[in-house]
Symmetry: none
Subunit: 206 residues, 4 copies
């Protein structure tokens, strides 16, 4: 069918635009990225971009949501490999970290640019942060339920874990290459564990 072909081509073009946008946004930042440049980078015309997306803002939002969803998937896959609730939460953090370590552009977009891109995004970003904090929290709750850790305020713990990770990633994103991002986590991990009352068990690495 012609229709199907066109649809799939359209979807391919959408993805090309999104991919190009990711590159441009993380190269220039949201405010300094121009739709013109995104169009150029995706081998499309400006009009083409506007055919597929209502505007620059929408592109960024798509990207944000797409990334958040990919990230969540990765985290969930990583957690599936473990039974221990603490190990699960731990695995989730590590998965997120791995992903960002591989795609610094993504990390920059996600951790840095999104905040200052305007009120609209801050709200959405806060939600995304909260989503991840909640994932952690739920597994800490499980851990409490199973008696693995003592009862604590898991909500604040989830947020704190995420915040600590965030700070580490952000630093790594902004300052040059420095060290491997995973190494930072290796140092961070015992801290997090202790914070919820888990005695250190240096079982794992990557």
């Amino acid at each position: 069918m012609t229709e199907v072909l066109q649809q799939s081509r359209a979807r391919a073009r959408q993805r090309r635009i999104l991919d190009a946008a990711l590159r441009v946004f993380s190269r220039k930042g949201y405010r300094d990225a121009s739709v013109d440049e995104i169009a150029g980078e995706s081998a499309t015309s400006k009009g083409g971009v506007y055919f597929h997306f209502p505007g620059k803002e929408a592109i960024f939002l798509h990207l944000l949501n797409r990334t958040a969803s990919q990230l969540r998937t990765k985290a969930e896959e990583a957690m599936a490999a473990h039974d221990d609730p603490i190990a699960k939460a731990d695995a989730a953090l590590l998965a997120v970290l791995h992903t960002f370590a591989k795609h610094r552009a993504l990390a920059r977009l996600f951790m840095v640019e999104a905040m200052g891109a305007g009120r609209e995004f801050q709200q959405r970003m806060a939600e995304i942060h909260a989503e991840f904090a909640t994932i952690i929290r739920e597994h800490l709750d499980d851990a409490v339920a199973q008696g693995v850790i003592a009862p604590i305020d898991t909500e604040i713990a989830g947020r704190a874990w995420f915040g600590a990770l965030n700070e580490v990633i952000t630093n790594w994103v902004i300052l040059g290459e420095q060290e491997r991002l995973e190494d930072a986590y290796a140092a961070l991990r015992p801290l997090l564990m202790r914070s919820v009352g888990v005695a250190d068990s240096q079982e794992r690495v990557s």
Copy 2:
């Protein structure tokens, strides 16, 4: 001396511009704040603003530095009241929190807007974050030296503490009023303490 008078008048105007800029930036965000509006809010003309500052960017940077310095002062004053190194670090965090709780505009500027305002600021922000992380770290180092806590990676701990705090403040800034910011810290504090191996001692609030 006329000179002296003029100097002080000039300084007064500078401050008026900075104060106005703070209001405008935190109302509109960096990118949506216009020099025109800052001029209007500070009862000056656009030309006047440009006489005192090289440009919009410089105003923001001034503000950032001024705020960081005020914050550091507050933190140091708070720490001076304590001997115990852990208590010092703790007091510093609380002082920062108090300040932000009183001036949400400042918090927004400092924690949210600055990140996405452009490459220039991200670098500076990372430095400021690092400064605060270092303050914490130094006192944790003291604590280790005094045998109050066991040896740990204090650098990562400083960053983690700051990151956790950051996340909490950011959430509070972006989402509406919700709860008192200080309450969040009350919940956060035991976590931080445990993370460096200090048994909970619920001594204080303020």
Copy 3:
């Protein structure tokens, strides 16, 4: 014949497009009407519209000509019912008025939008105006020839009659509902009659 079927189908679609265009043009005005919207309203695709018409301009021109021709037909039918040349001219005006009263959209298109839609249309509109003025003129000429009215400049009279009518209709189109358009004519008629030296004779209909 397949050919015949296809031809008639093509013509049907043409008409559907024209009808849709009339609605859109009179809703949005020429410049704010988009081909996309016309396509949507005529249950066709943009490509379809461009298959049947060379462009937006041509659609508008078609509409203009179609309307002018319909209007002329109505006027001629109305005139056929009368012998008196003055009555004929009178009937023509009334017929035009009736038509517009029923189709305000048409009136708006014809009297208002067409003028400002661009140079191309102004020329054509002037011609159409002239056509109607000429119809009136011819019957005034007949009246002069038959001695019903005294010799006057019938050309200018035709134009003036049309102009007066035009102003009345335009007002009615732009300002809301107000009164019945026909009532305005009832008031206008004696004026027109007197202007060519015909004593008032309130013979007529509706």
Copy 4:
């Protein structure tokens, strides 16, 4: 004072922009006129235009109002020279005509472009038309009151007079040079007079 100088310079520039806009609008029509071209023609920058006017629409509206006001002034001056109310109305029409005859650009703008420039202007144009129709009407009312003419529907008469004039001017604007606009009025005048029951008195021309 610097202030005064700047103000007067600003006003001069405003006028330059308005004058340039008049030229461009009447050369290209409202929709095809670009702010760029207006800026160029007024030896300003695009930004300069936007400093003085909120946008293209506002420029056009200014022009419309300015012209309407000038026209009214001319008409009133012309009427001041006469006592007879009919002569006054007559003089007003002639004054309007003279003005347009001298400034065809103005006429085009006023009679043709304004209508199709968008809904906003149509409303305002209808008002302006009504203003002029009212001026005529008031003097016809005077004439009735003084017993110069028999009682008639002066409101519709005012509108009809204006409409007739409008048609004549519009034709003259759109079709090339042809004849002198004033000659058209000479032919139109007896018609108008008769229409309100005034016997012809070919007293004047200009």
